[in-house]
Symmetry: C2
Subunit: 181 residues, 2 copies
C-alpha cells in the first residue's frame, strides 16, 4: 500500500489564465524528510471525438506554443468555472468547428499528468455530427478543420500526424467503447 505524503505548507509561485503553479512542502512517509514539489493547478479539461454520419472524424489543426508547431487534434479545451464537463465539450466542438452531435456520451477520463498536474481530462464521443454554423473563434484563434475517415486514425497515429497524448488516449477510449458495445 503506497502511503500519502503529508503536505506541510503550500504557496503559489505563478498565476496566469492557463494555470497556477504551486510549490508544496511535503514529508516523505518513508524517510520523514521534507521536500519541495511543484504542481500545475489547471481546471478540468475536455476533448471530444466528433463523428459524422459518413464516419468522418472532425479534426482540428492549430498552432501549439509548447511544441512550437501545428498539431492535429480533436476539439477540446478548458471547462469554464461552474460549467458541466459535457456541456464544455459540446461548446468547444461548436466553437472550434461549427459541428453539433445528435448524441454525446462520456467514454473516458484520464489524469492529464498526475506527476505534475492536478486535473482530469474527460473524453466524449459525439455521434451523427453535422455542421450547423461557422466556427466561433476567439480573436487570435486560427483553427483549420480537417475531416478524416475513422479508418484512417490508426495510421495517422502511427505516422505521427496525430501526436498529442490526450488525443491518443481519447482514441484508446473510443476503441474500448467499441469493444464493449
Amino acid at each position: 500500500m503506497i502511503k500519502k505524503w503529508k503536505k506541510k505548507s503550500s504557496k503559489y509561485l505563478l498565476e496566469n489564465k492557463i494555470f497556477k503553479m504551486r510549490e508544496d512542502l511535503v514529508t516523505s512517509p518513508k524517510l520523514k524528510t521534507d521536500h519541495n514539489v511543484w504542481v500545475m493547478e489547471v481546471p478540468t479539461w475536455v476533448n471530444i471525438i466528433p463523428i459524422t454520419p459518413q464516419n468522418d472524424v472532425v479534426l482540428v489543426d492549430q498552432y501549439r506554443f509548447g511544441s512550437e508547431k501545428s498539431s492535429l487534434e480533436i476539439p477540446g479545451g478548458m471547462v469554464d468555472p461552474g460549467e458541466d464537463p459535457k456541456e464544455a465539450a459540446i461548446r468547444e466542438l461548436l466553437e472550434e468547428t461549427g459541428f453539433v452531435g445528435k448524441k454525446v456520451i462520456e467514454i473516458g477520463r484520464v489524469e492529464s499528468n498526475p506527476a505534475i498536474m492536478s486535473n482530469y481530462t474527460y473524453t466524449y464521443l459525439a455521434l451523427d455530427c453535422e455542421e450547423k454554423s461557422s466556427q466561433k473563434l476567439d480573436g487570435t484563434e486560427d483553427i483549420e478543420i480537417i475531416k478524416k475517415h475513422i479508418s484512417e486514425i490508426p495510421n495517422l497515429i502511427r505516422n505521427r500526424d496525430i501526436e498529442h497524448a490526450l488525443v491518443i488516449s481519447a482514441f484508446h477510449f473510443y476503441n474500448l467503447y467499441l469493444s464493449s458495445e
Copy 2:
C-alpha cells in the same frame, strides 16, 4: 495551412529539477498582435511496457504529487542529459522494478502536451522480462510492483485503476504494434 506564431522574446520565470517555466512574447499571424504564452520546458520522457514470459505486465504503483494520490503506471521517467531514450527506458525499468527485458523495442512517441510542454514521451516494449535484481530506488522513492496479466489491462483502464494519460497512450501504441505484427 496553420501559420507559425513569431517569437519576439523569451524569459524564464522558474527553474527546478523537474522543469523550467518559460514565458514567450509571440505575435499572432492572424491579428499581428502580441501575446504572452507559457511553456513548461521538460527533458524527454520515456515509459516502458514490461511483459514477462507469462504475459504479465510489470506495473508500478507510486504516490503522485499532482493528483495527490497513488497512481498505477508502467515504469518510466526522465531521460538524463546525453542519454539515449531507449537506454533511459531500460534503466528506469531496472531501477523501479529490478526487471530486465530480453528484447526492447520503440513502439511510439507522443507530444506529452503540445499546448504547454516542450517535450516528447517515447514508449518502449520490453519482451521476455525477468527479475534480475531488487529495486534500486532513490532515497525517498516508494514504488510497489504489481503484476497484472496483459488481458486485464483494458478493464484496469475502463475501471480507472490506470488513469495516467501517458500510460494509456502507451497501451494504445501496444495495440497498434500488435495489429501491425
